[in-house]
């Protein structure tokens, strides 16, 4: 199965295009410190300079190197998306699979918990928590985002599990003496792997956006820089009106391209995982 999935994966255009866009950005983020040395917030050049050979993405109104900020911001964005989205996806899957498969009272209790977290105004909670605990690091920010954004994922996965659980192949696995945990991970989850990946992508994008909102109101990580912070700085200093397109286009395009590439990959992965969608 795995070798065969790989066979179709390397021949799937959508998956390859998504990867071709995503991997260079990921490489850029990982290699960031090597490419742009020093503090990305340092005032290094002439203010408000258009892109040039010296400063590839120009400089901000205060003479900071936009490329350096972009590269470091990319790191933070990937990190927040990965940690926040990953944590939310894990909680969502655990709750969704358990509630959907077990049903009955377990489902009732977990569903109630999910609904409570779902109706909590997440941003307000994050504000209060951040203000009280003085959160100033990216990983803690990601932790809070992860802990508040899982409910809809849990609900979606629960619904999907519910419909798969009643299929005969699950009963057949039970008749084969397969244990519940193994039925969930090996029979049910693979049937919705592209769905799970899609969930992760949306949670990833959502985490990036929530992080940007928090950064904007001054509750983000104080040290460092993120794409959200760059966008909001650009907006605050009227980059659009001043015609400084190089200040807001890189971070905006960065977020869009990352989420877009993941989405295209998801469509491709659906074809890889589901033999019915393959050309045979």
């Amino acid at each position: 199965m795995n070798r065969e999935a790989l066979h179709f994966a390397v021949r799937n255009g959508k998956l390859l295009v998504g990867l071709a866009v995503l991997l260079p950005l990921l490489a850029l983020a990982l290699l960031g410190p090597a490419l742009a040395e020093g503090d990305p917030n340092a005032y290094v050049g002439t203010p408000a300079q258009a892109p040039s050979g010296e400063y590839w993405f120009g400089t901000t109104m205060f003479g900071q190197d936009v490329f350096a900020q972009f590269v470091y911001g990319l790191r933070v964005t990937f990190l927040v998306g990965l940690l926040g989205g990953g944590l939310a996806a894990l909680i969502g899957m655990a709750v969704g699979f358990t509630a959907g498969y077990r049903g009955g009272l377990v489902d009732e209790v977990l569903n109630m918990l999910t609904n409570i977290v779902l109706v909590l105004p997440a941003l307000a909670v994050l504000l209060v928590v951040n203000a009280y605990l003085g959160v100033r690091s990216v990983s803690v920010q990601a932790l809070f985002i992860g802990l508040t954004s899982w409910p809809w994922a849990a609900r979606a996965i629960r619904a999907q599990t519910f419909s798969l659980r009643s299929r005969d192949f699950v009963d057949l696995a039970r008749l084969s003496g397969v244990r519940t945990w193994k039925i969930i991970t090996r029979e049910i989850a693979p049937n919705m792997s592209s769905y799970l990946f899609m969930t992760f992508i949306l949670l990833f994008g959502g985490s990036v956006l929530i992080a940007a909102s928090l950064d904007f109101i001054g509750l983000g990580p104080t040290q460092g820089v993120s794409l959200g912070l760059m966008l909001n700085n650009a907006a605050r200093w009227s980059a659009l009106h001043l015609g400084m397109w190089w200040w807001f286009i890189p971070p905006g395009a960065g977020i869009t391209v990352i989420v877009g590439a993941l989405y295209v990959m998801n469509v491709g992965l659906d074809e890889v995982f589901n033999p019915r969608l393959r050309e045979l």
Binding site: M1, R167, D168, F169, D171, G177, N191
Partner: protein, 292 residues
């Protein structure tokens, strides 16, 4: 012997589970190795639920199911002896995996130590028993095989365990006429090799063709049971008689079935032995056909 004793299944329905719905009401039957018992009833009569309760897929609300006198505990030991085949072969396979997986599961759970060659031999043997050529089915995806092939592969899967009892829930209803006879003959084969089969069906002619004993289920209750020849040759309960009347005949024009409702059985009602081995649920006197 697999014995069902006054097995009942009730569901809570309505808002807050205020009402109960009795799907299966006090069903008793015995299944012995080397015998096919057909469980006959219309849709909604509870026959599938009985099968699922035997297989431990649906919990029992009342009564007991015992295997050789011991209460049934669904688990590996039980499933080695009692296996099932379901109605829809297409939904029994996980569509994203090859069909071999249903056999592979058995290997992982029951024969983890078996060497590759030995296992292949075992698979080939049970595929032969259901008259499937290994090269034709192994390594294929479910949507690449026909319903008949998939269904026979599922029977082969059950045979790998060497079970003593098989619950066959409407296993021929998704098959076309020619493969249906194939599968029925296969069941007869297995029976002669000592397998006890509960053949759940809505089709009387199939039940008549394949089984020694017949149990007729109506609204969750057994209304008539006994040797197939007696039940079908001399139906005593009006419901059974109506079922038999509604079997389409090849030569006669079908003029429809009398649609008057089957009288509800008065409470309490019991099964009475009308002739040796032939039980019928007592109904109001004028309705009961005389034993001829």
């Amino acid at each position: 012997m697999l014995r069902l004793d006054a097995v009942t299944k009730t569901y809570r329905v309505g808002a807050f589970g205020g009402r109960t719905l009795t799907a299966v009401d006090g069903v008793s039957l015995d299944l012995v190795p080397g015998e096919v018992v057909s469980l006959i009833g219309e849709s909604g009569s509870g026959k599938t639920t009985v099968g699922r309760m035997i297989l431990g897929l649906t919990p029992v609300s009342g009564g007991s199911i015992t295997l050789d006198g011991a209460p049934v505990r669904p688990g590996k030991d039980y499933y080695r002896q009692v296996q099932g085949v379901f109605q829809d072969p297409f939904s029994c396979y996980n569509p994203i995996f090859k069909v071999d997986r249903v056999l592979q599961m058995i290997r992982e759970e029951y024969f983890p130590g078996t060497a590759g060659a030995q296992w292949e031999e075992k698979v080939a043997e049970s595929l032969e028993a259901v008259r499937l050529a290994p090269a034709l089915v192994l390594g294929k995806y479910p949507h690449q095989l026909s319903g008949g092939q998939l269904q026979r592969l599922l029977i082969a899967r059950a045979l790998l365990l060497g079970p003593r009892f098989l619950v066959a829930d409407e296993i021929t209803s998704m098959l076309d006429a020619s493969t249906r006879i194939d599968v029925l003959n296969l069941l007869a084969d297995l029976k002669s090799r000592g397998l006890g089969v509960l053949f759940v069906t809505h089709d009387l002619s199939l039940g008549n063709y394949v089984s020694e004993r017949a149990v007729v289920l109506h609204r969750g209750r057994v209304v008539e049971s006994g040797p197939t020849g007696l039940v079908f040759g001399n139906p005593l309960h009006p419901y059974t008689a109506r079922l038999l009347d509604s079997v389409p005949r090849l030569t006669a024009r079908w003029d429809g079935v009398p649609q008057e409702p089957v009288p509800d059985t008065p409470e309490p009602s019991v099964l009475v032995e009308a002739e040796p081995g032939h039980f019928v649920r007592r109904v109001p006197a004028p309705e009961l056909r005389s034993v001829s």
